[in-house]
Symmetry: C2
Subunit: 322 residues, 2 copies
């Protein structure tokens, strides 16, 4: 396989993008223990928490305590979401490896998600970039609704590239293209990733897929086709879809790693360790998670062979599964 | 897109592969009404029912009544599962378009699923082929566990090709390669489909994926890469996985059609009509179905834009979804 030596870089987002949606507060010590466990799994990056207003996202009101409490594993970048200069100052005081800035490339979603126009967001994030640049901390910009807006529909690739260009001119280190509500489809992903790589190949390009319509792993294949090597994923598939109750949200880390490893990629991530961490999630958050692998097991987790003599009644009933 | 004109052929299996697992009997009239509805959706083929022993699969004990009750749409092949010569005789009396024979290519799964050794199955199915050949009814062979056995693990592609060869020599019209418990992964699918197409390209080759570990649509992309144009799918994703309670089974028709249509393929299937049919399933079978699209809607089913003035408190709360 030519994939055998292809190195991929995974960013775990469950403790930020997943936990921010949880209604019950998760104890700071439990967050720290989980992140320390994730630090041993082989991720390239962990999005630990968010330095947003505790009023806006109370679930992550312990951002400082979490960042001060976790042990830093060598080789892992600890990134945090930062919405404004105040958040950047808080983040910088916690020795973060990267700040992750977020805005939507569609106007309606940005207004709904961040209570600002896109231009207002850009001005605010440019201030953050000004405050962080030169501090030795990497700056990533996550562009939400990059593959479709749940209110406006199609988002032209040209719009995505324009916003990338504006941020690239400010000297950011990387972009995450987010399929915020699971609207991306493989042909679109292939085309957008090819254009983004052509234009901004010198920067780190990460893809953030949601499995809302079942396409997250198919879209991952398409992104790999286009040369993308960095992916966000969420332990257990944690992180819902605000527009579709009951639908899954973020692509599930263990499902992504399982497929990529089978296909011969080097994800860096230890699947067994990730599955162990994922198995603890329902107890931690008080509800089931969408992960299919947690239910079905890995591909080669085998089941007992049937007893009995073929053709006789002591065999299991004929079932005709195809 | 070069996919624009690529014609695909979908086979709906919910009323056979899905209904056979249901514990509550679905009324014959309801089955007929659903199949008539599916006949208007544009499928190339519908696997209507199974002529197995009513004792083995009581859910499908009304196979004759269903076959006699449905209206035949021009251009749709009505196929049925047939396990033995008795079943073939019953099927032939009902004017079926195709008989579908099933065995597993792994010994343990065949014993568990069909209470026979593979050799016993082959002899029995060869008898069926002898009885049906020359009657103007097509013969398809579904090879279960073609991409992995839940009891034995890896199934070598060479084993799959050997069984295909033995059946091809008996004059069958097509094969369905079944990923019975969702063990297939894309690189494997690409390789197996390429070999199967090389060796048996003159016959109809269909792929039957399960979404047990989330890879069904990714595997579909891989099969398309290898030139496969025929796919099984199940309305609502009906049809569970016997080895993993709570895990999904068959790939969901509406999710498959949704992706393929977005990617520019001509599936023949009317997505809106299929979604309407799928929405009736929970009422018919008395429980929820795994379909994500039923929950999330199609990609461009849009949501209301937010009211309020950006930057003010009358906007929705800041949420920072990425």
């Amino acid at each position: 396989m030519t994939n055998q030596t292809k190195k991929l870089y995974l960013n775990e987002v469950a403790t930020r993008d997943g936990f921010q949606n949880e209604t019950a507060f998760i104890d700071t010590d439990d967050k720290i223990a989980l992140i320390d466990r994730l630090s041993a799994c082989g991720y390239a990056k962990i999005e630990v928490t968010s330095f947003t207003s505790p009023k806006a996202i109370p679930a992550l009101r312990d951002a400082e305590a979490v960042m001060h409490g976790i042990a830093r594993a060598p080789g892992v970048v600890y990134t945090v979401l930062v919405p404004n200069v105040r958040g950047a100052e808080r983040a910088l005081s916690c020795n973060v490896g990267e700040v992750n800035l977020v805005m939507s490339v569609s106007e309606s979603h940005n207004r709904s998600n961040l209570r600002m126009t896109r231009e207002q967001s850009f001005v605010q994030l440019a201030d953050v970039i000004g405050a962080v640049r030169g501090c030795g901390v990497a700056i990533n910009v996550s562009l939400s609704t990059a593959m479709g807006c749940p209110m406006e529909g199609e988002v032209p690739a040209a719009t995505v590239l324009e916003w990338m260009q504006r941020f690239a001119e400010l000297g950011v280190n990387g972009f995450t293209l987010c399929d915020t509500t699971g609207m991306a489809h493989p042909a679109q992903v292939r085309a957008l990733c090819a254009r983004a790589s052509d234009a901004f190949g010198a920067l780190e390009l990460t893809l953030h897929f949601h499995n809302t319509r079942g396409m997250a792993l198919a879209n991952t294949l398409a992104a790999l086709d286009a040369g993308i090597v960095r992916f966000d994923a969420s332990l257990g598939g944690l992180g819902g879809c605000p527009y579709a109750p009951g639908a899954t949200g973020n692509v599930c880390t263990e499902e992504l790693v399982h497929m990529l490893e089978l296909d011969g990629y080097d994800t860096g991530v230890d699947l067994a360790a990730v599955l162990e961490a994922a198995a603890r999630l329902p107890g931690l958050i008080g509800h089931d998670v969408p992960s299919q692998i947690l239910k079905a097991g890995r591909r080669l987790d085998l089941h007992p062979r049937p007893a009995g003599v073929p053709g006789t009644r002591d065999m299991p009933a004929q079932r005709a599964f195809s």
